[in-house]
Symmetry: C2
Subunit: 222 residues, 2 copies
């Protein structure tokens, strides 16, 4: 990219001007995401607030999700991480994937949470979101548009149903268990859940997620 | 109780002095529970802060749990509500209870949450607890000592295992799903989970809670 010297200079030598520009974009993004939610905030509007061209925001951050991730200081791009991890497992396991998706999900979730600084970022989200409605709206729309969409895409291919609405319902049920596990184990530190090993939790919770993904969830007629 | 006029006068005619005394006890309780957690706070210490005799605190509020419930303005005493509701179902269903405990749990949780002002109190707890460590400690100890203990007692009689540690683990798993459902459905309002009917959620989640309560959760040897 020799046509854009500012980008190729690298972190240590980055020009102060570019650094200031990025900071104003991120600040404008935090404000817009907070005020209008994830859906309502536009790159055009954020660019206008930061007094830069929208093309520059796209150049720096690519997609709205990546801009959100940078603005919220999340350590990874959730939908990319989900597709990378689960997509890799799906390639490895082939047709067996859909039978083990529940266990794979809970093992990966626990491993990611307990490795490096991802856990503290997730804890930060769980801690801060409930305290104000703007943050909740933002988190809800972000989860729906990125995390649930990625789950729904990658799990849909192996799941019992090809129906998009049903896939989203199943993904939501998975989210209810996974968020609850994060809340009780890592935030509330409820014993003996907090002391259980990953293997124990995979054995306990994996089959339940599996049922959410591929089991019969219909209301029985009496 | 004609030996204690202050108590028998009733809400409207309650003497201003008693009302002030109750308020100082509740304020002292909130401070002590916040500072020392649910376990660490004692009725003796709370009485000392409020400059009253511990016997008066017992007289007004009975147990520490009831004092906590009054101080936190919860609309019901959780362990009593659990024992009343689940105990009633257990009497009604007899030996069938343990087979349907999962569905009974999720139906009752959803009904209680969506009826009257219990839901807003629970939402308040979910919203405020994550923001500071004192509130988290308090909530953890309270949940462990009252809600989990009540679950553990009432479910233990019909559960697969009589082992107390295993019962607590199973109760913790149930808590992870129930708290997560509350968080995603009522706080995050994640669709299509938020729009699902109680019957649909009972069908989807009931059997998963049932597995937590009575299923085989052991790690399989390979």
């Amino acid at each position: 990219m020799p046509d854009d010297a500012a980008v190729t200079v690298g972190r240590s030598g980055r020009r102060a001007g570019e650094s200031r520009t990025r900071e104003s974009i991120l600040e404008a993004a935090r404000n817009r995401f907070g005020r209008y939610g994830y859906d309502g905030a536009t790159i055009r509007g954020i660019a206008a607030d930061a007094e830069v061209d929208p093309a520059l925001v796209h150049h720096f951050y690519g997609t709205k999700e990546r801009l959100f991730v940078a603005a919220m200081r999340l350590p990874v791009v959730p939908s990319e991480a989900i597709i990378a991890v689960l997509g890799g497992e799906r390639l490895r396991l082939g047709e067996e994937f859909s039978k083990h998706a529940g266990e794979i999900l809970v093992r990966n979730m626990l491993t990611v949470w307990e490795t490096g600084y991802m856990g503290s970022a997730l804890l930060g989200l769980l801690r801060s979101a409930p305290t104000n409605d703007q943050a909740l709206t933002m988190l809800r729309e972000f989860v729906t548009n990125t995390i649930m969409a990625a789950f729904s895409e990658i799990l849909g291919k192996g799941a019992a149903s090809a129906d998009a609405a049903e896939r989203r319902y199943r993904a939501g049920l998975v989210a209810s268990q996974v968020v609850g596990l994060g809340f009780t184990r890592y935030l509330l530190k409820l014993e003996p859940l907090a002391a259980a090993s990953i293997d124990e939790l995979v054995a306990a919770i994996g089959p339940n997620l599996q049922r959410f993904l591929t089991g019969d969830l219909s209301v029985q007629k009496r």
